[in-house]
Symmetry: C2
Subunit: 339 residues, 2 copies
Amino acid sequence: MKRKPSLKDIAEKVGVSTATVSYVLSKGKESKVSAEVSKKVKAAAKELNYQPNQIAKSLKSGKTFTIGLIVADISNPFFANIARIIEDEAAKLNYTVIFGSSDEKAEKSWDLIQFLSNRQVDGFIIAPTENSEDQIKYLKEQNIPFVLIDRFFPTINSNSVTVNNFEAAYGAVRRLIEKGSEKIGIIAYSNSLYHMRERVRGYDTVMKDHKLKVSNNWLHEIEFSDIKNGVHNAIDILLHEKPNVEAIFFATNTLAVYGLKYLDRLSVEVGKDLAVVSFDEGEAFDFYYCPLTIVKQPLGALAENAVEILIHKINDLDTKEKKVCLDTELIIRESCGRK
Amino acid sequence: MKRKPSLKDIAEKVGVSTATVSYVLSKGKESKVSAEVSKKVKAAAKELNYQPNQIAKSLKSGKTFTIGLIVADISNPFFANIARIIEDEAAKLNYTVIFGSSDEKAEKSWDLIQFLSNRQVDGFIIAPTENSEDQIKYLKEQNIPFVLIDRFFPTINSNSVTVNNFEAAYGAVRRLIEKGSEKIGIIAYSNSLYHMRERVRGYDTVMKDHKLKVSNNWLHEIEFSDIKNGVHNAIDILLHEKPNVEAIFFATNTLAVYGLKYLDRLSVEVGKDLAVVSFDEGEAFDFYYCPLTIVKQPLGALAENAVEILIHKINDLDTKEKKVCLDTELIIRESCGRK
């Protein structure tokens, strides 16, 4: 790769001072220079393929001021929204965010980590997939700064920002019980990720604590690769196989969206025939006929903490691993009862 | 950066053939090797920090098998979903997709293009922001393969995959007229991007063609930086300033989501008090009490065409620029009439 052109090169080409060039190429300072000179400088910068912003900064600092963000599925509003907030937080600190979506596949996550780390992102924010422990250990060994978000591996000492999934699920299902449901089903994902296990454990524990027996046809764990059919089958069993349930706890927003659409098709009236509580918010829920009781995750705080911890780590590799566990909020609306 | 370790290095370390190593490290061929050897090879690969997949491929081909995708706003379901489909299409061809979100800011888009092109992505798929013409010209001058998606600049000859926004808007508003509305307002964005201008032109033209006068308080163009207030003010004017409208055309899904929420707050019943048609689908719409008449964009075809055209360009820089303009579908439901 040919030597990167400097401000000086541009200055010489145009016949102005490097200060003038830097004014033109620095955000918000262009007004200090005449429009005509400004135009010449920009033309020269372009001709010489001068690289502003992060690249220029990185030549000075050895940093690229870029963060790699790896989410599990960019089409999931939870991740799309958190990505947007992480971007805004990073921008405040002059960092650019590059995303990748692992599609819940460890192999894809590994490709993204390899590509981005070899392209000198300064660090990573990662929602790790199942079976990606080796990748996280690799980042540690390579001393690449990173923070896990939404999920983490209890067996690996690393920075992480998560919510208290056990408490959240426990409180959500307790609310169903308080509103009179005793036969309660759960629809979750069949993966080994800690956050999902904790949500299931929350359900189990609150049922036990209330001396409510859980029938074996009440716990449904759906394959991520076939959510729609999985949810439909689960609901068919929950509603039609004895003992059929009075309430359903959806462990994620995506599961709930598929579930609520199917319940509409079956003309099951939520809030009357069936009580429902879901994890996560969703724009879709805002328009649902029965206001949903949901577990609200603090997206803003998750993103802010992740960015803050990562930037600290980038600036001082010796900082101790931070594990932030945030509380969720149970937003109580009508869907958790039955009329 | 130290020399990249080769299959040979790993083979020598473990004491097996390079073929064996490549079996272990190639997808789907591991079964040809004993579990024990496989384990040793992987350990050695990790120890030597061997980079598989794109990087290994790129050493052979000079390519990174990575596409840079720059969308306008990753938290917008339209872009989040198209990103996901582009990813799936690219994966079929063994390409990884790295995203950036320009947040509709030309400066941010420029940072992303600079960072990614300097990190050797093989090409770009870009939903360009307002005032980013120079960036597109720069990519052309630098011979960097790219395809514009969703938006394009009529003044620049480049690959593009878009929909027929004029036709789509014309047909949507015509439907409102056919269902009996004559006083029709439009809520769009106040930007100079061609696709948005075309949607407004479609509205203007169909009104003229039906000899319907457009009052000055019916065309509302919202700042992207303040959508919520913009939409609320627009609706207040459309409903309460004479001549007040019988129908509203929302030029994007985001504008419609804010609009419908506000109409609920005002207790305006869509499909009865007010007719509504919106551009784009939205998960939120699926749960809306009045089934919405919408302009459905062919997300799959947009993504497939963009990836296909880009890969051709990557493999043969001399291919002629392709301009694909796809038709949309008007999904007719109840919201476009008034009872």
